[in-house]
């Protein structure tokens, strides 16, 4: 009996709450809010907030063309693999006190899973046989390489700080990172963690490939780069995958630096009856998470999109390996000295 209920619970996790349905709805909504915000910042009316949903369903209704030069299996499977990895990643990131798969995966797994969507786009582009996709994928590889180093340093700084607080040296478990923050306050309130938080904020637009770090998908110079040959349903899956990535990166930021808010929510509901408190806490936490995601997207993706022009690929690489890596390294050093 418990096996059946367990299986049903996990199925609900995968398909509904932090899984597919939640990712689809909130990722697309985030994407729509981003487009609306950029338009408002440029004094335009902008598309409706539901525009990404229209785009998605329209693309599903279009003809899917597979180029004659493409490897059909890889070309069509790559978007699905990318989306699946993206959703799995979302399952492993805790929503404050709620954690779908507790103790299974830690920060290292998150690091690996973050790479798979980028790799799947690269694979799909490489199999499409288009020279534009070739240029795009070489740029995407450089972008991934550029973003990875500061991201690892940020995670190291967080792991060391939490490890110091818990007395375990390095703490790579996301559950423990969030729990520690719920007890001791958010990491962003520590002075030593502020450079790492800023670095993480700069990593978000690079990881999601938005302006000014979108050299790999430059639609004006290399015909959308890696997506040049994609049409119809596979393109819709890529667009969805990109939308979910926005959600994943902001959720990861919330888990790493703003986990203390979960403690506040727990205090808020502690006066209620225990049977009610759990449910209300989760609903509150989801709403807070989504609002925080909107704010983070507005600051990191929409604002930078509206005020900057696209960087060349070597400028992008230099920026990440000097400024962003430097910021993250400051936090690592401070964390090692126990500040």
């Amino acid at each position: 009996m418990t096996i059946i209920t367990d299986a049903l619970t996990y199925l609900a996790y995968i398909l509904i709450f932090p899984g597919f349905l939640f990712c689809f709805l909130s990722g697309m909504l985030l994407c729509g809010i981003d487009r609306k915000l950029v338009a408002r910042m440029q004094k335009r009316v902008g598309p409706p907030v539901l525009q990404p949903f229209y785009d998605f369903f329209k693309l599903l209704g279009k003809e899917t063309i597979v180029p004659a030069a493409a490897n059909k299996t890889v070309f069509l499977m790559a978007p699905l693999v990318g989306l699946a990895a993206q959703v799995v990643l979302q399952l492993f990131i805790p929503v404050f006190s709620f954690h779908a798969f507790r103790g299974v995966a830690d920060v290292i797994v998150v690091l690996y899973l973050l790479l798979i969507p980028a790799l799947s786009v690269i694979l799909g582009a490489a199999s499409s046989g288009s020279p534009y996709a070739g240029v795009g994928l070489s740029r995407e590889m450089v972008t991934v390489l550029a973003v990875e180093l500061p991201l690892v340093l940020v995670l190291l700084a967080v792991a060391k700080t939490v490890g110091n607080a818990l007395g375990t040296g390095l703490c790579f478990s996301l559950t423990d990172i969030v729990r520690c923050q719920m007890e001791n306050g958010s990491l962003i309130t520590r002075l030593s963690m502020i450079p790492a938080a800023v670095a993480m904020l700069l990593i978000i637009p690079g990881e999601t490939g938005s302006h000014p770090f979108d050299a790999a998908e430059a639609e004006t110079e290399i015909c959308e780069g890696m997506l040049a040959e994609y049409s119809g349903a596979p393109l819709a899956v890529y667009k969805l995958s990109h939308a979910v990535k926005l959600l994943t990166m902001t959720t990861l930021f919330t888990a790493l630096f703003l986990g203390g808010i979960g403690g506040g929510v727990q205090q808020l509901v502690s006066g209620l009856a225990p049977s009610l408190a759990g449910g209300i806490a989760i609903v509150l936490e989801i709403i807070i998470l989504f609002l925080l995601s909107v704010v983070l997207v507005a600051v990191t993706v929409s604002f930078t999109h509206a005020v900057t022009a696209r960087l060349r690929i070597e400028q992008l690489f230099k920026f990440y390996w000097t400024v962003v890596t430097g910021l993250a390294a400051i936090s690592v050093v401070l964390a090692w000295y126990g500040l």
Partner: protein, 185 residues
């Protein structure tokens, strides 16, 4: 219900692919004007697609020169169904001031089924938005026609065949005439 959702979305998210078939750049500038804050076509869901594979509406400007004709037809045939072909300005409709020139192969309607013509030299942004709004409606109609009520896919539209027939013929014309000109000299 799902099909209805797709058909409705079809008229709300038209992505444009712009082809310059020997245009003087006047119409191309007006396309940019349509995307500026004053007119903002994005509020209707318009987006300039970088690749013809991702487009729904093909916007052709210019009188379709002999050099550009095979490329225009190739680009149009790469746009997935359902697609709508819109000509912008007087040039692709009639040839405009370039009519009768040795290098002009237009009008475009000789080679493909044009759905909407936006007249003007260059058309005002209001006229462009009006024409594109009509194209959005045609896009949804084409999608609905692609799938009949029994859910089976309707036969493909003849646009593809026209391109397949005309494109080699158009390419073949060029060397013949070039040879004639050489002979006269």
């Amino acid at each position: 219900m799902f099909k209805q959702l797709i058909t409705e979305s079809m008229s709300k998210s038209p992505w444009l692919f712009h082809i310059n078939a020997g245009s003087c750049n006047g119409c191309d500038i007006e396309i940019v004007a349509v995307l500026t804050p004053r007119y903002d076509a994005e509020r209707l869901g318009f987006k300039l697609a970088g690749s013809p594979r991702q487009a729904d509406i093909v916007l052709v400007t210019g009188p379709v020169t002999k050099q550009s004709l095979p490329r225009v037809l190739r680009a149009i045939s790469q746009v997935p169904e359902p697609r709508v072909i819109v000509t912008m300005g007087s040039c692709p409709q009639s040839g405009n001031v370039f009519r009768g020139s040795y290098s002009v192969a237009g009008p475009l309607s000789k080679y493909v089924d044009v759905d909407v013509d936006i007249a003007g030299c260059a058309p005002k942004p209001e006229a462009v938005i009006d024409g594109l709004a009509k194209a959005m409606g045609i896009l949804a109609e084409k999608r609905a026609a692609m799938y009949k009520k029994d859910g089976k896919k309707a036969p493909a539209e003849p646009v593809q065949e026209v391109i397949a027939e005309e494109a080699p013929a158009a390419q073949a014309e060029v060397p013949v005439e070039a040879a004639q000109e050489g002979g006269e000299q």
